[in-house]
């Protein structure tokens, strides 16, 4: 069964450094998402992406965050200058379409900012 894959599984970085989290969505999906989950908390929406542009973003997704689909398969999340509070699990998801389509999630990247 096709799945969303994310790399790396764990990323440790120093405060102020830039990180890029990578995702390969399911190949025929059209909508792409990033979510994050701080330890022990619920999964929070960051951004959705469709047709090569951001379709919606949350308050969390400030100017330090950006997303890109550099080619036909990868979908990346960049954090320009990491803060301690950016430490979380970051999940990529994709779905085939709007409305009644479930999101399929990857297994996440654990980001630790020291």
């Amino acid at each position: 069964e096709p799945e969303v894959t994310q790399t790396p599984s764990h990323q440790v970085t120093q405060m102020g450094q830039e990180v890029i989290l990578r995702c390969v969505p399911i190949s025929n999906h059209l909508y792409f998402y990033w979510y994050r989950q701080i330890l022990g908390q619920k999964v929070e929406f960051l951004v959705s992406f469709y047709n090569n542009e951001i379709s919606e973003k949350s308050e969390i997704f400030d100017d330090q965050f950006s997303v890109e689909r550099p080619d036909g398969s990868n979908f990346t999340l960049k954090i320009r200058s990491t803060k301690l509070e950016d430490s979380a699990m970051y999940f990529c998801a994709s779905s085939p379409g709007q409305g009644g389509s479930p999101l399929h999630f990857g297994n996440g990247t654990r980001l630790t900012v020291t």
Binding site: Y33, E44, Y50, S55, S58, G99, G100, F105
Partner: protein, 113 residues
Amino acid sequence: GESVGLHLPTLSVQEGDNSIINCAYSNSASDYFIWYKQESGKGPQFIIDIRSNMDKRQGQRVTVLLNKTVKHLSLQIAATQPGDSAVYFCAEKGALGNEKLTFGTGTRLTIIP
């Protein structure tokens, strides 16, 4: 504002028994609901979904019930197995093509052997 919440943070069930996990939502315009299972170290895994024009949907050992009158969603797992131990999240998508999925806080289900 819109929110999706759960009644119980933890639930322990004897193996083989049935379990029910509940969820309340506040956005009456919600059109689509999903239950996800999250095991330790993994991403949310799709279990079952339901559209707002339905009140019940069944899968393999799982049933989702939707009561739009009281804005309540439940997940029933029949004949629970040790592999059902996980955190379960309900999630909701708004209507009008809103793609954002809003998650509840999660219920940790523990199956007692």
